[in-house]
Every structure is written in structure tokens, then in C-alpha cells.
């Protein structure tokens, strides 16, 4: 495929992503600007399509462009059927793009029932659409061409004619600057105009009249108080230095970052993520080499060298931060698509559910983000399906009929915290207990805490839904979610209150390539514990290991925490000098103490994947190279705890 078509496909995908957001935005607020941007997106799609070998796509989009042109002109209003059709149409366009210009596949898509159905729905929506609510606004538009403007071919009469096309105009001519007759240079402009314009068009439409006449010092002032909110406070147009169009950019408040990015599109470079990956790999090597350099310099004790090493250290750190930041994307890029998920789900389940998002600007590594969206979809589906009750039940329980799923992201120390919260019925702990006993996950007489019960929803094949819907209830899902999140070296915790809702808290590392680790020693071996999983380190009383009762519990303040000798778990040897330490780690809501010989300190670690020979060893998340050049294994705390949990301790010994 030629590069131009390739780049069209890239751009079209971006555009389609934004289009989905714009359409969803229209549902809540149909400002003229929002309608305009939908129209422009469709127009661009269509134009590019016919230019780069996607005539079928272009023809398909044309119908939608047409429809939104009519909306723009105020002939029809925004309606749910129209947006439904447009959203489905957008999905169909993606399919057309995926066909990649392949004629047979394209023809099949074009002739498909689905395409026909979408277009019929669109036609129906357009025909049945309510007339648009025309909101007339009054504007005072004044402009005064510069003295030399006429020589440059400026035609004030054309500007006035264009303004008249927008709506009803009352034009006054300002002759205050007109000189006396003997001083009059007929080739110069001396006049100004003040136009009182009544129009349904947005401010941007008036501004666009002056796109090529911005030296005419156009001023646009809203005369009515009820100016459409998107155009905000009646500020004057920026003066002649700023191009008139620039004013439309800040006009849309920072509601959606992706759109802001398109505005700045000219200044960005599209880079294949593989290149970024390779930069990061090399950076990882650099960080390791840097650590070794530090150590060597410290050994040599040469002050000139040490100064230089410090300088290099500073540069490498800077380079690392910049490189990592390049790979960071606002989490909003995935949040966006969940609005659609929830919208479609509401229809499918016949519930009224709204998705509220928070902290969309939180940035997260692209690799993490890519692997995060599937599990998040699962969890949101679960919340909407299992969590949120039917409207009738909600009202009966004294809740608002509309269910709410909240998705919030934030950054907390070196990790990303994502919370998925619903205000639904909450987990039924008794039911989980019964199911767990049924499935043999729990002894019949066990009395686990509510938190432990809640965590059981992550067990494979576990579902408390009585009936299976198309959405969820098959019990595949939450265990997949858990393994996806653990695969990202993150953790999930669930808390729930009956009748009040459920909250899932995800903690994820900022980046997959570099982690902060705690170095621990076990006899001759050194292991790395990801710092994200470490809660605290305490001195260990060796006599605890020799308790006759077989009890393996530590009292950490008011809690009892089970512990394991890491040497047993990892078949290691212990340096028996009687002084050992214990690292309290936490994963998947479980805490455990790992007894080690010594704690060597913190270390920023570049993760290297395990070799094919060791891929079946779940205990390790990867390997790394230490400052002295030796290899150390990075423990996968969640997997280790799963293995050691329950009966695992005796198995390992």
C-alpha cells in the first residue's frame, strides 16, 4: 500500500476515535461548535477517502456528512436515532478501513445487510428528526479595513455580503475618520462598518467571514446574554496579529484533550511504537552501564572522574525521564471508548447507566495502556450488569433511577491508581460464600472476612449471576481481569457494601520497562522485590521459625501476618548468623512476610524478560542486571503469594 494511503488510514483512525467522542458529546450538549466539528470530521474522512483509494468509504460517509450538514444548517435537530445511526455508521467505516482498499472485501461490506440497515436507520432518523431549535443570537460585528487594504484587493462589500448570508443585517457605516475632501486619497480606505447581525450561526461562522481579512480589525460582540455557552463570555476578537481562526480553539473548553491534540496536530510527529521500544531498551542498557560506572568511580576514588560520573548520572536521569514521558499517554484515550461501551450496554440491558470519568489526564505508559483497556471493559461491564440494579429496584431502594459507574484515575507515588466504582447493589457476601463452598473453594465451616470473600470473585469460573446475559455471568472474566492486571505487575482489590455499591481499585506501575525494586539477599543469592508490592521491612526474631506449634504468624502492630522463609520457597540456602529480616509484601489483598537474610537497598531496575527455558516459572517477573554486573531475578510477588498461600507453605518446604 502506498505511504499516502497508509497515512490516510492512520489519520482516519484518529479521526474516527474523535468522532465517537464528538457524537457522544452531542448527546449531552449539541452546541453549534460540536455539530460543526462532527461535520468537519465527516467531511475530512470523505475527502481523504476518495483521494486515497477508498471510494466506497467515501460514498458511505457522504450520507452522514449530508445529514450533519442539514443539522448544521438548522434544518433538522439532533436526535437519539440519528446519533445511534451515526455511531453504528462510524463502526462500519472502521470495518471499511480495515478492508484496506481490498476490493472484494469492500464490496462485500458495502453490499452487507448491516450497511443497508445503517443507512436505512440514518434515512429514517433524518426524515423523522424534529426540527432544530433555532437559537437566534444578536451580534455586533464591527470592522475597519486598514488604510492600504483596498490596494491589496480587500473588498468590504463582499464581507458585508457574506455577513448578510448569515442572517439579518443592519449595517451602519462609520465615516468618522473620513478626511476633508482636499486630503482624500481615493485609493485609501477611510471607512468602518458596524453590523448588527441576527443569526443562528455560531461565532465561528462570523469569524470565518474575516479569515482573509483579519487586518480589518474585526470585533465581534454578542448583544444577548444567552449566547451559546461554548462561545463563552463575550470577549472581543483578538486583534489583528492573531489569525481570526485561533479564537475558535480556546472557545471549546478543555473538555476533551484528544481534540486539543488535533489542534496542535501540526507540531507532532507520528512514530512507530517499536522505535520507542528500542529507545527504551537502549536506555535500559544505559541505566545499567551508568550504575556500573558509579560503582567503578567510587572504587577508584578519583575526584575528577567522580565529578564527571555525577554529570553523566544527571544526564542519564534526565534522558530517562524524558524518554518515559514520550511514551506516556493520557488515560483518557481509553476512557473515551468506555463511554460508548456503557451507552451500548444501557440500551442492551434496558438500564439507565451513566459513566462518569475523572482524572483522564493521568498519564500512563503506552504499553500498559494498550493492555489495560480489555480488563477495564470487563470490569465496567460487570459493574453495569451485576452491580447496577434495574431502575425500579433502584427507586424502591431509595436511589436515583439512573445508575452511576465512576471511573477515576490518579497517580500516587510511583503508581497509577484506577478506581471503578458503581452505586449498585454491592456484592452479596452470603451468596459468594455459598457459591465458594459449592465449588469447593471454601470449606463449609470457614468464616472468611468480607474482604476475603470479595476477593473470591477473581477465582476462575466464579460467577454469582443467576442468569447468564450476553454481557456477563459466565464467570469468565474476572479471573482474566486479574491475570491481565498481574501481568502488568499491578494489583486489584475489591471492596463492597451491600446495597451501596462495589469498588475495584487497580494499582499499576507507571512503566513496564523500569521498576523500582528492593534488593534482598538470601545466602549467596540476590533477588529484587518490586517496591510497589513492599509494605515495610522489620527485624525478624529467628525463634519464630522454630515454634513447636508450627505457627507461622507475625504480629505487625494490630494485625497478624503469615510469613514464609523465602529460602524455603526458593530452595535457597540461609546464612545462619541469627540476624534475619522480614519484608512485608502485599498482593491481591493478601499480606505476607518474606523472611530474608538481609535487605541491600533500593535499586532502579530494567526488567528483562525470562528466557524461554524459564517461561514456566511463575515466581519471577523477569531478570535484571545489578550494578556489579551479575544477574538478579525479579520476584513476581502476586504469583509467589498465590503459590505460597494456603497449603503452599508446606509444599515449598
Amino acid at each position: 500500500m502506498n505511504p499516502a494511503a497508509q497515512s490516510y488510514i492512520h489519520e482516519a483512525r484518529d479521526l474516527l476515535t474523535q468522532l465517537e467522542q464528538m457524537l457522544l458529546d452531542l448527546e449531552t450538549e449539541a452546541s453549534p461548535e460540536a455539530i460543526d466539528s462532527v461535520f468537519r470530521a465527516l467531511h475530512t474522512l470523505k475527502g481523504g477517502g476518495s483521494m486515497f483509494g477508498f471510494p466506497a468509504l467515501s460514498a458511505f460517509v457522504h450520507h452522514f456528512e449530508d445529514a450533519f450538514d442539514r443539522v448544521r444548517e438548522g434544518k433538522i435537530g439532533i436526535s437519539k436515532p440519528l446519533l445511534d445511526a451515526a455511531l453504528e455508521g462510524r463502526d462500519h467505516v472502521i470495518a471499511l478501513l480495515d478492508a484496506g482498499g481490498d476490493e472484494a472485501a469492500t464490496a462485500e461490506l458495502v453490499g452487507s445487510d448491516q450497511a443497508r440497515r445503517i443507512l436505512a436507520a440514518l434515512e429514517g432518523a433524518v426524515a423523522g428528526a424534529p426540527p432544530a431549535v433555532v437559537r437566534l443570537a444578536r451580534w455586533e460585528v464591527s470592522f475597519r479595513p486598514s488604510k492600504g487594504a483596498l490596494r491589496c484587493g480587500m473588498r468590504p462589500d463582499l464581507l458585508l455580503a457574506e455577513l448578510r448570508e448569515l442572517g439579518d443585517c443592519r449595517v451602519r457605516c462609520d465615516v468618522s475618520d473620513l478626511p476633508v475632501l482636499e486630503n482624500l486619497d481615493p485609493a485609501q480606505s477611510h471607512l468602518g462598518w458596524v453590523v448588527e447581525l441576527t443569526t443562528a450561526q455560531p461565532r465561528a461562522a462570523i469569524e470565518s467571514v474575516f479569515v482573509f481579512a483579519d487586518d480589518a480589525d474585526p470585533r465581534i460582540v454578542a448583544l444577548d446574554q444567552d449566547e451559546p455557552p461554548a462561545a463563552a463570555a463575550p470577549v472581543e476578537m483578538p486583534s489583528a496579529e492573531t489569525p481570526a481562526t485561533a479564537a475558535s480553539a480556546p472557545a471549546a473548553p478543555a473538555r476533551s484533550a484528544p481534540r486539543a491534540q488535533t489542534m496542535a496536530g501540526q507540531d507532532t510527529v507520528r512514530v512507530p511504537s517499536a522505535k520507542l521500544d528500542s529507545i527504551l531498551d537502549q536506555l535500559g542498557e544505559l541505566v545499567i552501564a551508568q550504575a556500573r560506572l558509579n560503582q567503578t568511580a567510587a572504587r577508584l576514588g578519583d575526584s575528577t572522574l567522580e565529578g564527571l560520573v555525577e554529570e553523566v548520572h544527571r544526564l542519564v536521569t534526565g534522558l530517562r525521564d524524558t524518554t518515559l514521558s514520550v511514551r506516556m499517554l493520557p488515560i483518557e484515550t481509553v476512557f473515551g471508548k468506555f463511554r460508548r461501551v456503557v451507552r451500548d450496554l444501557s440500551t442492551e440491558l434496558g438500564k439507565d447507566v451513566v459513566l462518569v470519568t475523572d482524572g483522564g489526564e493521568t498519564e500512563i505508559d503506552k504499553n500498559v495502556l494498550d493492555r489495560l483497556s480489555e480488563p477495564l471493559v470487563h470490569m465496567i461491564r460487570n459493574s453495569a450488569d451485576h452491580g447496577i440494579e434495574s431502575a425500579a429496584d433502584r427507586v424502591a431502594a431509595g436511589k436515583p433511577a439512573q445508575g452511576r459507574v465512576r471511573l477515576a484515575a490518579s497517580q500516587d507515588a510511583g503508581e497509577i491508581v484506577i478506581v471503578i466504582e458503581d452505586d449498585g447493589r454491592g456484592l452479596d457476601h452470603d451468596k459468594i460464600r455459598r457459591k465458594a463452598i459449592d465449588r469447593g473453594l471454601l470449606a463449609a465451616d470457614a468464616r472468611p472476612t468480607e474482604a476475603a470473600l470479595a476477593q473470591m470473585i477473581f477465582a476462575p469460573g466464579f460467577s454469582t449471576a443467576d442468569k447468564v446475559s450476553s454481557v456477563s455471568g459466565r464467570g469468565v472474566g474476572m479471573d482474566a481481569v486479574l491475570s491481565a492486571i498481574t501481568g502488568l505487575r499491578g494489583t486489584v482489590e475489591v471492596t463492597s457494601r451491600k446495597g451501596e455499591g462495589t469498588r475495584l481499585t487497580l494499582r499499576l506501575p507507571l512503566s513496564l520497562a523500569i521498576i523500582d525494586g528492593l534488593l534482598v539477599r538470601l545466602g549467596p543469592d540476590v533477588f529484587v522485590l518490586p517496591l510497589i508490592a513492599v509494605e515495610e521491612c522489620v527485624e525478624f526474631d529467628v525463634t519464630e521459625l522454630t515454634r513447636n506449634s508450627g505457627r507461622r504468624m507475625l504480629r505487625i502492630r494490630e494485625h497478624l501476618v503469615p510469613f514464609v522463609d523465602l529460602a524455603d520457597a526458593l530452595e535457597g540456602t540461609v546464612e545462619n548468623d541469627g540476624r534475619r529480616r522480614v519484608v512485608i509484601v502485599r498482593a491481591e489483598g493478601e499480606r505476607m512476610g518474606l523472611v530474608v537474610d538481609d535487605i541491600l537497598g533500593q535499586h532502579q531496575t530494567v526488567i528483562k524478560p525470562m528466557s524461554a527455558y524459564h517461561a514456566d516459572l511463575d515466581d519471577f517477573a523477569g531478570a535484571t542486571i545489578l550494578a556489579d554486573g551479575t544477574v538478579a531475578l525479579i520476584l513476581d510477588v502476586a504469583m509467589l503469594l498465590r503459590r505460597l498461600g494456603g497449603t503452599g507453605i508446606s509444599l515449598a518446604a
Binding site: 540476590v526 530452595e571 528466557s611 524461554a612 527455558y613 516459572l617 531478570a623 538478579a632 531475578l633
Partner: protein, 160 residues
């Protein structure tokens, strides 16, 4: 033109039939030099807990983490802890995947030309070495050189 391409073909044939002879448990093993990346002196190795005895360690080869393999397990030779020989770094390609590994050798001896005509097939029964790992043998004086099939011998999924 013809001459140079003929020379390339010749060179390829040559490199295929040139092998590095190493000794493990007293036996001479031949590994095609195309697979050999380098030979290094022993360096600190990191034990991988619960790993198979075929690949029980990791080492750092010029900034890369590389598994250190002990072929004795697969060749049904006695495995004992002490081993202070040399480390041979190999590149193995399996399908589209290519990876690097290191193997322990008691001794690295020499590079020899293998005459394909002189290769003897090992008897089906009586040979202690699995035939998918050892493809044949070569007599050299009193010595028996075992020809290894590196792709099979180092295939990770048989590690169990």
C-alpha cells in the same frame, strides 16, 4: 560474477561443515560453528530457583541476560555440581525466533572440518544418547566425535 557467487556457495558449505569440538563428561561434541557466537571464561552465574537442571542458571553476556545450559541432563550424562570449564555462547534459531544461550563445556578444543561422507549413523539401540540430539558420529583416531543437532538439543519446550 559467476566466480564470486560460486565462492559464496562454497563458503556457506564450508561453514556448515566446520564444527567446534568441546568436551563434556569426557565425550567430544561437535557444534556447527554457524551457531557459535563466542567462547568466554566462566563468570558469576545466578541460580534460578525451581528451574530444570537443563537450564539452572542465568549469566550476563555483554549486558544481555542469557540462560546458562547444562547439556549433560539431556544427553543422559551424570550431572554433578562442580564445573569450572568454559562457557560457549550460542545463537539458535527456531522458526522465526532466534535466541542466545550459553552452555557449559569442560574444555573447548579445536575447530575441525567435518567430511559429510565420514559421518556414521549411531546404532538404534545401544547408543546412550537420544538420537534427536545426536545425529551421528565421526571417528578421529581413537576418538569418537558426536555430532549435535543444536536446534533440537536446545529447544526450550522439552526442558521438562
Amino acid at each position: 560474477m559467476t566466480h564470486s557467487s560460486a565462492a559464496t556457495v562454497l563458503a556457506e558449505e564450508d561453514s556448515n561443515s566446520i564444527a567446534l569440538i568441546i568436551r563434556v563428561c569426557g565425550e567430544a561434541l561437535a557444534i556447527p560453528v554457524t551457531h557459535v557466537h563466542e567462547v568466554i571464561d566462566p563468570i558469576p552465574r545466578t541460580r534460578v530457583p525451581r528451574a530444570s537442571s537443563f537450564a539452572p542458571w542465568l549469566i550476563n553476556v555483554r549486558g544481555a541476560v542469557v540462560p546458562l545450559v547444562d547439556v549433560r541432563q539431556r544427553l543422559r550424562m551424570p550431572v554433578h555440581a562442580a564445573n569450572e570449564g568454559r562457557v560457549v555462547v550460542l545463537d539458535i534459531t527456531l522458526g522465526a525466533e532466534s535466541f542466545r544461550l550459553a552452555m557449559l563445556a569442560d574444555e573447548v578444543q579445536e575447530v575441525v572440518d567435518i567430511d559429510p561422507g565420514a559421518i556414521e549413523v549411531l546404532p538404534e539401540n545401544g547408543s546412550p544418547w537420544p538420537s534427536n540430539y545426536v545425529t551421528g558420529a565421526l571417528r578421529r583416531g581413537d576418538d569418537l566425535i558426536l555430532l549435535l543437532d543444536p536446534e533440537n538439543l536446545f529447544r526450550p519446550e522439552q526442558a521438562a
